[in-house]
Each structure stands twice: as structure tokens, then as C-alpha cells.
Subunit: 330 residues, 2 copies
């Protein structure tokens, strides 16, 4: 039996400049499921336009990809040699001020929503704010509604208190789809030991990020360093709570990272994790530049002492279990 | 076996002032499926607001109703003693000028769309226009897209040429969900023999209307007269192509019929099938005032000589077959 068929491979966060080339790389990398961001700052109608663009991808490239809706779609992808695409929102802007849009977005395929991006949202606080007053009145209701319909609360870009409160308030396990431990690399976007303990003790999942700003050494981070971090993370919180959320932003022009950071809210340029002298997307490490490189990660995890079963769980088995438990009605 | 369980009952057009009372009447009438209008002149975002209102109905009244998506939901309704609600649009206004919104609306549960209401639309001509240039360029593409995703082309309010062209252009059988034969009652909204022949020869369905303006004798139309018309219609076009599409607008204030007729397009009051002296909704005939009265219709059809099997086909069996064939991808 082909190893690619034997165990699922899932990347729980990407935002590529989607194309036939990227979809072909997903197949080359044996990736069965990808959580694809479809909105950063878009309102509802703009998000629907992005979904329509995805529907055209699904129609044109049905040999490579199909819409992912349930955990079983990962297994279908394994059988059919295709990749299931699961939609996610990095900001609650698509639901505007309307709790009814959560169920509508779910019907359109959205399976993850961050309660905040870097700024304060209507629901929660982002990690770049100076103050974090925690989950808002609307946020509490939104969490309950997301729980009801089967949309995962994602706190990847949220601030500490909001994140801890979301973990507490959510009746279902939540996810941090793309971040690393702050103790490995103290970036603003990486997560404290307190958060990671609360997340994993409540059954939540951490998607480990391969975005240079989240990694020790940045673009020069070695595969060995990354995998040693994964081993330490597994020993602290349990291997069952770990997956990949690469944050791969492949083939994107730098205007896209400017949009991510500034949306329509800023009249002065915000450089986020970058700087005025390095405003664009950082260079990916040589061992992870596309979906086709996910095999490198598997090899690296084997070398730091994980068993084959543990590697398979981190590469996708844990996400498969989480997706299966998370995307249906409560 | 309870007769209500033995054969499906489907009403393929209603626009009630939806309430717990109306849903309870659906159960009292043993109605398993209702095609409910969710938009007359609404744009996309307004239609989504209407869907959100329906989602609240589904949540609050889950003992009585549930969202209908496939023909098999009629059978589920029969098993569970509930009513499946199928969404439809009386105008293409919800897809605006965006062909991608057809698939989006389908994902949100829309299973029928009229290509035009009474006026010219971007897709086709309505039955109140003086000229009918036929299906437009956008209309041809919309029909193909509706065929692809499984949304039924409904020409109930469309003009003659547009209707004949839609029948010809559609790769799947279409429907006239709510109208009667023009030879029985020569109302503008009723359909010519030419249309009914083309419709039924191509496998399409006619939903017979119980709206007074579509009936001989109007509000005083007798059950016997209506059922005799059904018998003649069956003898001309075949019983397999007939169902009910009552056009029941129960508990609606007259402001709603004014909205149907005038939308936002008219600065002077258009009375449609009514008149200045009778501007409101017409009175329903005494034998059909709510969903609870559908049993009367069954009795009336038996009395004009239909077999039990034929009555069951007209009351819902034919719609069940049509729904099963029509709502999935091509």
C-alpha cells in the first residue's frame, strides 16, 4: 500500500495565490486536506465573491481538488487521489454584525473562523492590540452559534485573554490553526505556555506554523530545529493535539501581505511582523517552499524520534479526527 | 397504514406569512413538502436575510419543519411526520448580475428560480410586458448553470416566447410551478395550450394554482370546477406532469401583494391581476384556505374519476419524482 494512501496529510492553513500549479503541488505532496483562507478583511458580499472564485477552481480543476465539508472528505480525498479544500476566515468581518451569517457561511462551506485578526473585532481582541478586554457580548453569542452549526473557533491571531476566554466559553474544542510556542520563538503571534496548556487540555488543536516570522531563525530556520520544537511541544502538551498549519502564502505578490496587515483600516502602513526595510513576504526556508515539500517534514519528524504512527498523526491523523468531530451540528 | 404516510403530499408554491400556526396547519394537512418563495424583488443580501429568518424558523420549529434539499427529504418528511421546506425565487433579482450567485444560492437551499417575474428581467421576459424578445444572453448562460447545479427553471410568471425558449434551451425538464391552463380561465398568468404541450412533452411539470385570479369564477370557483379542469388537463397532457402549486399567500397583509406587484420599480401603483377597487389579496375559495384543506382537494380529485394512484401522483407523487431528478448536479 502506498504510504500516501495509508495515512492522511492535512495542512490546516494556507493562503496561496491559488492556481493549477499550486493544486498540482498539493497532489505531488500527497496532501489530502487544506484549510484555505478565503477572507482577511472582506465583508460578506466580498467573501461570497471569493467563494464564487473558488467554485470556478472546483469546476475547472475537479481532477485535483474538491470542496471539503466533513472529516470524511479527507478519507474521500485519500481514496480518490485529490485534495479536499476547507474554507476558513481569518477575521469575523464576513459575518458583519449579523449572527445569522454564521450559519449562512457554514452552508457555503466555511469551517473555521478566527474571532479576531490582529486588531480588535466585534467578537474578540487581536494580538497587536495594547489592551485585551476579552470576548465581547456578540463574541459570546457567536461562539455558541459556531458551536451549534459546526464552525471551529480559531484563535491564531487573537490576544491572550480573549484566547483563554474563548477556550473556556466554547462548548467544543477550539483550534489555533497556525502558530508556534512562544517559548521556542517569542514572536507576538506565537502562543504562551498558558494558552497552549488550556488549549490542549480542553481537547483543542495546535497547527504548527512554517511561516518564517513564527520560526526561530526565520527564513533560515532548519528542518531539524523545527522538528526538535515539535518534539518538545509534543512532550509538553501531547502529540494528539498537534498538526500542521503551515501558513504557506505561496506565489503571492507583496501587495497581499500589505492587505493582510492594513486592510481598509489604516491610513499609515502597518508592517506587522515585517518592517519598513522588509515589508514583503519573508522567504520560505528551503525545505518548505510548496505543498510538494510536505514529505520533507515527514522525514524530519521521523529523525527527531517520533514513531511512524506519531508522525502520521501530526501530518494529518489528528486533524482528521478533529475535523470529523468539529464540522457537524452539535 | 395511515394514508397520509402512504403517499407524499407536496405543494409546489406557497408564500404565507410564515408562523407556528401555518407550520401546524401543514402537519394537519399532512403536507410533506412545500416550495416556499423566499424572494420577489430582493437583491442577494436581502435574500440572505430572508434565508436567515427561515433558519430561525427551522431552529424554533424543528418539530414541524426542516430544510428540504433533495427529493429524498420528502420521504424523510413522510417518515418523521414533518414538512420539508424547499426555497424558491420568483425573480432572478437575488442573483443580481452575477452567474456565480446561482451556485451560491443553490448551496443555501434554493431549488427553483423564475427567470422573470411579471416584468422584463436580465434573463427573460415577464407576462405583463408588451413585447417578449425571448431568453437573453445572460439568460442562456443562467439556464445552463441552473442545469449544472440542480436549480429548476420556473417560468410561472414569464411570457410565452421566453417560456417556449426556456423549455427548448434547458437540458433538464423545467417547471411552471403555479399556473392553470389558459383554455380554462383566460388570465394573463395562465398558460397557453402551446406552452403546456411543450412543457409536458419535454418532461416538465405544471403545478396547478388555487390562487383565485387563476381560477374560473375566482374566489367562487367550486372544487368540482377546479377538479374537472384537472381531469381535462390530465387527459390533454398526461397525469404524470401534474402537481399542485397552490400559490397560497396565507395570513399576508395587503402590503405584501403591493410589494409583489410594484417592488421598487414603480412610482405609480400597479394592480397586477387586481384592480384599484380590489387591490388586496383575493379571498380564497372556502374549500382551500390553508394547508389543512389539502384533504379536500384529494376528495375532489377522487370524485372526478381519477384512480387512487392518479390522485396520489397529482397530490405529490409526481413532484417527488421531479424533485428527485432535478435538485442534484447534472
Amino acid at each position: 500500500m502506498d504510504a500516501k494512501i495509508a495515512s492522511p496529510v492535512v495542512d490546516c492553513l494556507q493562503y496561496a495565490n491559488w492556481s493549477a500549479d499550486v493544486f498540482a503541488q498539493m497532489r505531488a505532496g500527497g496532501v489530502h486536506g487544506v484549510h484555505a483562507t478565503i477572507a482577511y478583511h472582506e465583508n460578506f458580499r466580498e467573501t461570497v465573491a471569493n467563494i464564487i472564485a473558488w467554485n470556478r477552481h472546483f469546476e475547472r480543476h475537479s481532477d485535483l481538488i474538491f470542496p471539503g465539508r466533513a472529516g470524511s472528505d479527507i478519507e474521500r480525498a485519500m481514496r480518490e487521489g485529490r485534495t479536499a479544500i476547507f474554507f476558513g476566515l481569518q477575521n469575523p468581518s464576513p459575518i458583519e454584525d449579523d449572527i445569522g451569517l454564521i450559519e449562512v457561511c457554514h452552508a457555503l462551506g466555511v469551517r473555521f473562523m478566527q474571532l479576531s485578526y490582529n486588531n480588535q473585532s466585534l467578537l474578540a481582541t487581536g494580538c497587536y492590540e495594547g489592551e485585551d478586554p476579552g470576548i465581547t457580548r456578540f463574541g459570546r453569542q457567536a461562539i455558541a452559534e459556531m458551536n451549534r452549526v459546526g464552525m471551529v473557533v480559531d484563535m491564531s491571531h487573537s490576544a491572550e485573554r480573549s484566547t483563554l476566554e474563548a477556550i473556556e466559553l466554547s462548548a467544543r474544542p477550539i483550534a489555533i490553526t497556525h502558530a508556534n510556542p512562544h517559548w521556542w520563538h517569542p514572536a507576538l503571534r506565537n502562543k504562551s505556555d498558558t494558552v497552549l496548556k488550556a488549549l490542549t487540555r480542553s481537547g483543542g488543536m495546535l497547527g504548527l506554523s512554517l511561516y518564517p516570522h513564527h520560526m526561530k531563525g526565520g527564513s533560515n530556520c532548519t528542518l531539524q530545529s523545527f522538528c526538535a520544537m515539535v518534539a518538545e511541544t509534543a512532550s509538553r502538551y501531547g502529540v494528539a493535539h498537534l498538526g500542521i498549519g503551515s501558513d504557506l502564502c505561496q506565489d503571492q505578490p507583496d501587495s497581499v501581505v500589505a492587505w493582510m496587515r492594513n486592510g481598509r483600516w489604516s491610513k499609515v502602513t502597518d508592517y506587522g511582523e515585517g518592517s519598513a526595510s522588509a515589508a514583503g513576504f519573508p522567504r520560505q526556508p528551503s525545505w518548505f517552499t510548496s505543498n510538494a515539500d510536505l514529505g520533507n517534514l515527514r522525514d524530519g519528524l521521523c529523525k527527531v524520534g517520533f514513531s511512524n504512527e506519531e508522525v502520521s498523526d501530526i501530518m494529518g491523523g489528528n486533524w482528521l479526527r478533529f475535523y470529523t468531530q468539529s464540522f457537524g451540528p452539535m
